[in-house]
Symmetry: C2
Subunit: 521 residues, 2 copies
């Protein structure tokens, strides 16, 4: 008996020879074809499901066994359970009637690329562990950088470079840590409590979370005010004033994130002046174009990122509005060495000749994790399967659909557009005047607090409208609150969405607006 | 002309009606079936490719165009390019002759699960965004926790809970930040420079990197010495002494990571005494069982994690040796609230009734990123398709294969086993005595430096052996250096590996050992 207690198993030595290998090619083929038909049928029938899942918390525990099965179960049984128990609990992000948040736009090419990556299942932490994974990523990031007309300094050819992160949160954290260490290297690590990070009240929460993770004091995280009058974009004047105040107090401005297409209202921060100020004070500028970045491959929309040449890093999510499945965040940096200085690890067990030669990129040093999937495949598949021209046409088509929706709103006096549309997202609401005129005298309404009453009532009416629409399961929209205004967001970009879906959504919105406004009379 | 310059496109309004939608179900079906056959054939022919890619740095730039194509390309062309240009640059982690690092063990079920997740392509950041994604994850993590006999306090039923992270690096960073903030909350954020993190010289580099990211001073990262005599496991005495020294210097012990199955030699740190000490000083203990954790679903191996009941968190990678494709790291914590306190964000645009009800888990607050894939599907598919019994049998089978290899080594005097085998990885080398006896007098060899000479020469011989074997493309192994010894690692666990592959690998090793030792004579 050996010391690990597994002596009794020796008799069972050739255990696997009696059963099929878990990666048996023919079993793979059999089940693979089955699942392709399952998913194809799912897309075919997707409009039969409520977009927003209508299940109650805890629904699944009631339906599944308490423990894992002891014996194997056939794929047919499992797929039946997916159909009966999982699909009802899914909110269908691929539905053409999905207009919530931002799109999660899948495509056949994106799916095929993901399958290839899963099939090869390489752990591409460094060049040597799968050269194609690293090299294809470098190439594709240069292709995409060129499509976006990023300055040469962001491309490998210009001593910069691109890397695929999982999500924007990771991209932001990596650049923030690089920026932090660049400063601390000069002033000493014990000064971490003096570093200041700047955002606006519209910046994605990813930056606050990244700051928290990176050890930036909560009170050193600045949230600059934006206003409706400037469409909720970050004000360079307010930034400069904040920086000056901080410097006067002995603090050290370190990082600012500018957003092209904020989450709430797709606001655009003015890159050129923000970069100018940041440069003056030696700060790192990251440009977060998570949603809107993809549209900048169209020459007529490229101006939105004018000024990026003075930023330190730029990212957008190919998994949002670029037909590449989650997760796939494209990050470019001007100085890969700043990432590498903060994020590299060189244990002996990963040492190899290629790394020692300094002739290769080891992407593990450009990201937080060590292991990494072969994500470049899906991006490559998308770029090749559709080509630059068709990708541009598709993005433009979504913008056109948003314009169509915008026109519907303009033609109906009950609604107002809250901020100008920049991309494929329209922010609107039932207007205060419609709410007011549809409401009989309220007992609580006096002349004094009429304005406040109207603001609250309008927000309430619009929240009700959203809930009513989402409860039908026929359309899914989400909201934002900006400047105290509850805003409905209509985000176009889901791959399956065509014009009739926008028209039907509009009809549904009108119908429910009628109901709600009438109920108040 | 509107202000965004896209006026000319209005004429092109119904652009997508002339072409197939990018998620057209029938096109999905056509290409999907094609790719299934492609990957099935890849597995069928996988032994025809060199395991370790033999390409040179920069090989791919020479073969691919400088820019993305303007026009779409057919899938047939792209798949030809995958075959001709990508596959030669792939290191084949799914090859049955892969014995490097740790396995990346795919399976049909894992693949199917990943396809379902990719097909649904939901962004499951909170419960509401896709209830099934969250609920299935909770259920599967409880199932798996039960299979590992984790104490109830790590399961949802015991007020703890499990979450799927991408990789161990992320799991470590999340727990480290939670531990950091738990302490800083008591002593003040300005004390971050006093926090101490403990590792051994065998701990995975993930911890050092996570500490760096979390703002722990480099000089506050302790690397405790291990020795060959204790099989490179962390010494509780050394830990205690280090803690005392730090406290005397006014520093604050905060976090220690214990490893079950280190990367270099699969050493096992003694959990029970380490947890006891950590508890005494109020430190967080994370248990990293990235590779070996899966084996603990077998009752006879469960003792390796005895003592885990006193740890704060535990993780293992289902994508290593549990037939689930990358990425899939299983993390359990006793106090989810400590993760949530550090990692939660609650912007208005994510607000929803389910979250407000406090009846649901919002996994975005348990991880670094906001967006998350529906990873639970693949784990669920693996557990159901194979069942507990078969999974145990497969893991035991891999251990048996490692024992077989171990026996081969024992029967050949030229080799020595460097550390006792714990799991499915064997650490060995050509022994110093074989090197010595096969070497004629060296000009540089004197009696004085003979010992040093022999150490160096032995390491050199073993490095040569590894390179020679890997250059054949027939087997891939990697190395470690422990206690100054260059060790060859033979890690069994790749799904397609069967007994004949181990036998063939052994024959190849012997053959090359002959060549190398003879060359020295």
């Amino acid at each position: 008996m050996d010391s690990f207690g597994d002596h009794e198993l020796v008799t069972n030595h050739n255990i696997s020879s009696n059963t099929t290998n878990l990666l048996d090619p023919e079993e793979f083929r059999r089940q693979g074809h089955m699942i392709i038909d399952f998913i194809a049928d799912y897309y075919k029938n997707i409009e039969n499901y409520p977009v927003l899942s209508q299940v109650e918390p805890g629904y699944l525990r009631k339906r599944l066994p308490k423990s894992a099965p002891f014996q194997p179960e056939p794929i047919e049984t499992i797929l039946n359970d997916v159909q009966d128990h999982i699909i009802p609990g899914i909110t269908h992000w691929q539905s053409p009637n999905h207009f919530a948040y931002f799109p999660s736009s899948g495509s056949v090419a994106g799916f095929i690329g993901e399958m290839l990556a899963t099939g090869f299942n390489v752990i591409g932490f460094n060049w040597m562990s799968s050269p194609a994974a690293t090299e294809l990523e470098c190439i594709v990031m240069d292709w995409l950088g060129e499509m976006l007309s990023l300055p040469e300094s962001f491309l490998f050819s210009g001593k910069g470079g691109g890397v695929l992160q999982g999500t924007t949160c990771e991209a932001v954290l990596c650049t923030l840590v690089a920026a932090r260490d660049r400063v601390l290297h000069k002033i000493g690590v014990d000064k971490i409590g003096k570093l200041i990070v700047y955002s606006s009240d519209q910046t994605h929460c990813a930056l606050k979370k990244a700051s928290q993770i990176a050890g930036i004091h909560t009170e050193n995280f600045r949230v600059l005010r934006t206003t409706k009058s400037s469409s909720f974009s970050m004000s360079p004047d307010i930034l400069r004033q904040a920086i000056r105040n901080d410097i006067e107090r002995g603090l050290i401005p370190m990082y600012v994130m500018a957003t092209i297409g904020t989450t709430s209202t797709t606001a655009v921060d003015p890159l050129a002046p923000l970069c100018r100020i940041a440069k003056e004070y030696g700060m790192w500028v990251h440009v977060d174009a998570a949603y809107a970045g993809s549209l900048c491959i169209c020459p007529e929309f490229r101006h939105f990122i004018d000024g990026v040449e003075d930023a330190d890093s730029f990212s957008f999510n190919a998994h949002k509005w670029f037909f590449t499945t989650l997760d796939c965040c494209c990050l470019w940096v001007k100085k890969p060495s700043s990432l590498i200085k903060s994020l590299s690890t060189n244990p002996e067990y990963l040492r190899n000749k290629a790394t020692d030669s300094n002739k290769v990129v080891d992407y593990k040093d450009w990201q937080m994790a060590l292991s990494r999937r072969f994500r470049a495949l899906k991006l490559w598949l998308v770029l090749r399967s559709y080509g630059v021209e068709r990708l541009r046409e598709l993005l433009r088509f979504h913008v056109e659909l948003a314009k169509t929706f915008h026109k519907f709103l303009e033609g109906d006096k009950r609604f107002e557009i809250v901020v100008p549309r920049n991309f494929s997202t329209v922010c609107f609401r039932i207007s205060p005047s419609s709410v007011e005129s549809s409401t009989v005298d309220d007992q609580n309404k006096s002349e004094n607090n009429k304005e406040k009453w109207l603001v609250e009532r309008t927000n309430e009416v619009n929240a009700k409208l959203m809930d009513a629409i989402n409860a039908t399961g026929r359309v899914w929209m989400t909201h934002a609150v900006v400047g105290g205004i509850f805003v409905l967001r209509f985000a176009v970009g889901t791959t399956l969405t065509e014009e009739p879906h926008v028209v039907a959504a509009w009809d549904l919105i009108k119908e429910h607006a009628d109901d709600i406004l009438n109920a108040y009379v």
